[in-house]
Amino acid sequence: MAAGSAVIFLSEPWLAAVVAAANVHPDLPVALRGLGHDLAAVVEAEPPVLRRAVAVYGRQEGGRIAGARVLADPDEIWELEPAYVVRAPFRVWKALLSGGDAIQAALSGRVKVQGDLEGLIRRAGYRYIVDAALGSVETEFAEEGASP
């Protein structure tokens, strides 16, 4: 994304930009092969920074992310029953997006993962795809008290 066109974290344009960046990565089909079909990521409320939880949902098809959206209500996850659910508070996501150690965050319990961890750990080496996609999008974090 061009410099100076920052997008707000967890907004639809931000999600679309991250997905588009990930989908052009040549290693993505290999990384996704054998994984579950869908994933939800929940940014847990952390007042006053984030007053209510926000969840995004994405599904893969044919080696690419075929669809992603910000859920109107995080409870939709119960209905969607995605293969993986990753939950963490706002500040933890912000730290991870800024290059924080995901393994340490997961082991310390700050990031909670539901789903087949075995498959995810086997693909931990592909984290550079996520890092590259996130790094290519200039992310602006909402100020205190604001909602995305």
């Binding site: 939709e76 996850i77 119960w78 393994i103 087949d116 498959g119």
Partner: protein
């Protein structure tokens, strides 16, 4: 104060474990070993939960999957209510538009 010390110790412990895990994960064999260990632990937990569910059902009590099913139904009802609410917001707008076209003398 004690809680603060416990917190510091926990954080340092987590960092140490994180460093060790990072070292293991940087090696493909270590990564594979960790994946297998975690997979085994998850499967064992699922077996335990399944046994617990059977025991609770045998005693006439609800187990976690029953609560999950309820949450799923609540989520479905919430979504339907949201969709209905969205439709109701559209209908007055359309009615107002129709009323304007009726009253503009175009008939």
């Amino acid at each position: 104060m004690r809680r603060g010390l416990a917190g510091i110790l926990l954080e340092q412990g987590a960092r140490a474990v994180g460093r060790a895990a990072g070292a293991v994960m940087s090696d493909p064999r270590g990564q594979e070993a960790m994946a297998r260990a975690v997979g085994l632990a998850q499967r064992s937990l699922r077996l335990f939960e399944s046994a617990q569910e059977h025991a609770l059902h045998a005693a006439g009590l609800a187990a976690r999957p029953d609560y999950n099913e309820l949450r799923k139904q609540v989520a479905r009802i919430k979504r339907k209510a949201r969709e209905l609410s969205d439709r109701l917001e559209v209908v007055p707008t359309q009615s107002a538009g129709a009323a304007r076209s009726d009253g503009d003398g175009s008939r």
